[in-house]
């Protein structure tokens, strides 16, 4: 890559700038069309007779475009996205791993993509078997006893898990009032606890970056329903005192919830069910490679120990009389339903295909490679960036911008500058317990060559922060647009296109 200075940036940028693509509405023109329906094989609808209260006569502003224009519109827009298919996407805690094409092919098989969720069980045995197989595989991977696939995403899995805990404790006589959450946790944890009707109490991290046992001992009392723990935590650190943590929580009548966002560090190496976890969720879009799709869909299955199985959402897939599978809804202790139908079935198909393709040995190798990659980056960047915690880490590593901040260069600037070097940034300013955090998760999907390119870019930026801090502060220089004024956008939000006023 040529060295970039403020002087030569415009010339370089010229090769990257593509012409602006207007909004659909701005290229729309009356009378154009991209659709054609087959001729009706029944009589035309008599609108006045069938809808006597009237119909709408227009959808004002709705687009009118031809097929080729639509193809170009969405193709051009796509080229403005960075994606895993283009390179390293080291977002910490997001597990941006390769999305295999095979998964996309099997998810589109007609019998899986077009089946209706309310079909009679007799004609959806294949779909039910698929879900049972995935449930069983996830139970084996987590060391838990039962799995529901229904939650639509990680945050909904958390809600499902906390509702299950609440139902269990209520059945024991007292749902309790509080949930303990470490200060390093993802924001969904406290938000979830609030929806389930709990107060949140923060648990401090100690000098190792792990749960401070003395705080836990002090706070864990009969008013606490559960501890919500991410393990490994958002610093990529395994909670080494997990045995003592689980013991403390259980001794005082609470349950241990595990946020499985970082399960990519453990598959085949350690199972939450073996270290005291009662309930956990998984993110199929992280650990099990279902595509992130620009922000979703995800899927957030919840796994529980057997004593919590009666509380799982309905329906459950159970063995029928004649050897087939059927749906069971009559489960009085269930927390109810968290989503219509079965959840994000299309993600189940992909996750199962991923598990089958890797197999037992491949899943473990995947974990090993993910942890190896993260430790390689950690070691190679230790001289350039400050490492706030010396504790051994697993699948991700968290640096701080302490050294660069002396020059006025912050984690957000370094992130923007990474774009000029052709990479998507790491996770910026999270976890909150590390001021100016750079949270890096390479996943197993990166070759050493790609890691070395990233490391070289990060080292170069560290040097620039010393020699030309303003270059980093003003980044990115090579993207189609420069930094957007997010503050102004939030002050006077424009959330939709409006036609220009007439006259």
């Amino acid at each position: 890559m040529p060295e970039i200075t403020p002087e030569n940036t415009p010339a370089l940028a010229a090769t990257h700038i593509q012409s602006d693509e207007p909004l659909l509405f701005e290229i729309s023109s009356p009378g154009k069309r991209a659709w054609q329906l087959p001729p009706l094989d029944v009589p035309e609808a008599d609108l006045e007779l069938l809808l006597p209260a009237g119909t709408r006569d227009d959808i004002a502003g709705f687009p009118e475009l031809s097929e080729i224009e639509l193809v170009r519109h969405y193709t051009r827009l796509s080229t403005w996205n960075y994606a895993i298919d283009q390179g390293l996407y080291p977002l910490g805690s997001c597990t941006m791993k390769y999305n295999s094409r095979l998964n996309e092919v099997v998810a589109r098989l007609e019998g899986l993509a077009e089946g209706h969720p309310l079909q009679p069980a007799a004609v959806m045995q294949g779909a039910l078997r698929l879900m049972r197989r995935l449930e069983a595989a996830l139970a084996e991977i987590t060391g838990m006893d039962a799995v529901t696939l229904q939650p639509a995403a990680g945050a909904q899995g958390e809600l499902t898990g906390i509702l299950i805990i609440r139902a269990c404790l209520a059945a024991r006589g007292n749902p309790r009032a509080k949930i303990l959450i470490p200060d390093s946790a993802h924001g969904t944890n406290p938000a979830t606890a609030a929806i389930a009707g709990y107060r949140v109490e923060n648990l401090r991290s100690d000098a190792r970056g792990l749960v401070e046992l003395s705080s836990l001992e002090r706070l864990m009392d009969e008013s606490v329903a559960a501890l919500m723990l991410t393990n490994p935590n958002t610093l990529g650190l395994f909670e080494e005192d997990i045995h003592r943590i689980a013991e403390l929580v259980h001794a005082r009548g609470g349950l241990l919830y595990m946020d499985g966002a970082n399960m990519n560090a453990l598959v085949g190496r350690a199972r939450p069910g073996d270290f005291g976890v009662d309930v956990m969720h998984l993110n199929l879009h992280k650990t099990f490679s279902t595509p992130h799709g620009g922000g979703g869909p995800g899927a957030g299955p919840v796994a529980v120990k057997s004593f919590l199985e009666p509380f799982l959402p309905v329906p459950r897939i159970v063995e029928g009389e004649a050897g087939g599978l059927r749906l069971e809804t009559d489960r009085p202790a269930s927390i109810g339903r968290v989503r219509a139908f079965f959840g994000n079935f299309g993600m189940f198909v992909r996750a199962l295909a991923y598990i089958l393709a890797n197999g037992s040995d491949g899943l473990k190798q995947t974990t090993d490679d993910a942890v190896l990659n993260a430790n390689y980056i950690r070691q190679q960047l230790e001289d350039s960036y400050a490492l706030p915690y010396a504790t051994p880490s697993l699948h991700e590593c968290v640096f701080s911008d302490r050294l660069q901040a002396r020059q006025g260069v912050h984690t957000g600037d370094i992130a923007k500058r990474l774009m000029d070097y052709g990479f998507h940034p790491y996770t910026v300013s999270f976890p909150l317990i590390v001021p100016g955090a750079l949270m890096i998760e390479p996943t197993e999907s990166e070759s050493r060559e790609e890691l070395d390119r990233f490391i070289a870019a990060m080292r170069a930026i560290a040097r620039e922060a010393e020699t030309a801090p303003e270059l980093v502060q003003a980044a990115p220089h090579r993207t189609r647009i420069s930094r957007l004024d997010e503050a102004a956008a939030a002050r006077q939000p424009v959330l939709r296109w409006q036609p220009k006023a007439q006259g």
């Binding site: 094989d41 609808a45 119909t55 959808i59 639509l70 929806i195 040995d361 490679d369 990115p476 420069s482």
Partner: protein, 458 residues
């Protein structure tokens, strides 16, 4: 292990760079008792052909290729091939949430367009970037209405999708105020008197009403909004079939719209992934959950798009956030956007008209064959029929003819035992509709006069 881009040689070299002899040392700090000491009890990794064969077998055991008359919140429509062609680009489906706008303008602009089209369709002023699905969108709308009004009770129509109401009950179970329901009348539409009685208590944050409702009946948004507003409640308009908006008046009188976008080109796919959406008035935007995309300017004054108003969201507000939701359903929203853009201003109306015509043909065929049709009020593309013989018998016959019949309503509505909800979209052929009507009619007395009426149409 074909997804892993490393040779064993390179692994060993990397370990040696780290000063390690074997990979186990990377996990040495995990306490001994936590470590798994055996291989996972899963099969060894399989090849592509083996996996394809496995999934083809699963797919075949699912009534693939059958004609289907199931709707009930998951609708079969022609999906323009453009959708798969475009969303299969890795730039769309292997990108993450657009937190870095400079390299995510594709996703951001497509969501901005999605938000705009949802507003145009619903008559609302703002729409979010999408929610998990219609059922959770409705639950989030209810929570939003409680925040906006300071009241706590919620009032849902029994004619709203039963699974949506189950999800709502789950979300509300630990919130004060409770959930009450109001019924439907003989016509299939809301029982306005009962609704008004329930509203009189004055404690209601919102009325939740679906249209076309679960029975396919078209409701009167304006009348419902007048009633709700007269008692200080908001109206949450629930729309499970977006194609209906091509023809039916938009819910412009509502305060919040909770919409399921599946009908817009998202595969029925055993129930998901779909895309819910919340739309509302500008003045309520700061109470709206979920991601929002807004217009912004860069340093050179060029137009771009960013995620905005994040102070509502969990990663900033934690336990004080409007919702715990983190993801949206961007890829499904993109499918819906492409669908809306393909059909456009005129096509969506034509598509809705075809649905109306097919369902009307089916209703006439049923009536002509002497099958009792419940709920005479205007409907969109679903109808409720009560045949004279057990639904199980009809089901067995039709499945043998490779037709998936309507949905038995008894399990959800005791009073509708023996009745089925039948959905007829543009994908249903006249031939399949005729076979369906014949199966439901067997054992019924055929009224001669109506049969004649139908023959005029054929």
């Amino acid at each position: 292990m074909r997804y892993l881009p490393k040779s064993d040689v390179i692994r060993r070299e990397m370990l040696s760079t780290l000063g390690l002899e074997n990979v186990d040392q990377l996990f040495a700090h995990i306490p001994e008792y936590c470590r798994l000491r055996r291989p996972l009890n899963l099969p060894a990794g399989r090849s592509e052909p083996e996996i394809l064969e496995d999934f083809r077998a699963l797919a075949e055991d699912n009534a693939a290729g059958y004609a289907s008359f199931l709707g009930a919140g998951a609708y079969h429509h022609f999906r323009p091939v453009l959708i798969e062609a475009l969303i299969s680009r890795g730039e769309w489906f292997t990108a993450y949430t657009p937190y870095q706008p400079e390299i995510s303008q594709g996703t951001l602009q497509s969501i901005f367009e999605f938000q705009t089209m949802i507003c145009q369709l619903t008559g609302m002023e703002v729409a979010n970037a999408s929610m998990y699905d219609g059922s959770t969108a409705m639950a989030e709308a209810a929570l939003m209405a409680r925040r906006l009004t300071g009241k706590s009770a919620l009032l849902a129509a029994r004619s709203t999708h039963p699974q949506y109401r189950e999800v709502l009950a789950t979300y509300l179970q630990h919130q004060p105020g409770g959930l009450r329901e109001f019924g439907y009348g003989e016509s299939g539409a809301v029982d306005a008197e009962q609704l008004e009685r329930e509203l009189r208590a004055g404690d209601v944050a919102a009325v939740l009403l679906q249209s076309p409702n679960f029975f396919g009946t078209v409701e009167d948004w304006e009348a419902a909004a007048r009633l709700a507003h007269a008692h200080g409640a908001l109206l949450v308009a629930v729309i499970a079939e977006p194609v209906s908006l091509g023809l039916l008046p938009p819910p412009a009188a509502a305060d919040i719209v909770a919409l399921e976008a599946q009908g817009f080109g998202i595969p029925v796919g055993f129930g998901g992934p779909y895309a819910g959406v919340l739309a509302t008035r500008q003045k309520y935007v700061r109470s709206l959950p979920g991601r929002l995309v807004g217009e912004a300017r860069d340093r050179q004054g060029r137009r771009g798009y960013v995620l905005t108003l994040a102070t509502r969201e969990q990663h900033i507000r934690r336990e004080k956030a409007t919702s715990n939701i983190c993801t949206n359903q961007a890829l499904c929203a993109l499918m819906a956007s492409i669908f809306m853009a393909v059909y456009g201003r005129e096509g969506l109306r034509e598509l809705a008209k075809q649905n109306l015509a097919k369902a009307d043909y089916a209703a006439r065929a049923f009536a002509a064959a002497g099958v009792e049709l419940l709920f005479p009020a205007p409907r969109f593309h679903e109808l409720v029929a009560r045949p004279r013989r057990p639904l199980a018998e009809i089901e067995a016959e039709l499945l043998a003819a490779r037709i998936v019949p309507g949905l038995p309503l008894g399990p959800w509505y005791g009073e509708l035992e023996g009745a089925a909800l039948i959905c007829v979209t543009e994908t249903a052929t006249r031939d399949a509709i005729d076979k369906l009507a014949a199966a439901y009619a067997a054992g019924a007395r055929r009224p001669a006069r109506q049969a004649k009426e139908v023959s005029l149409h054929t």
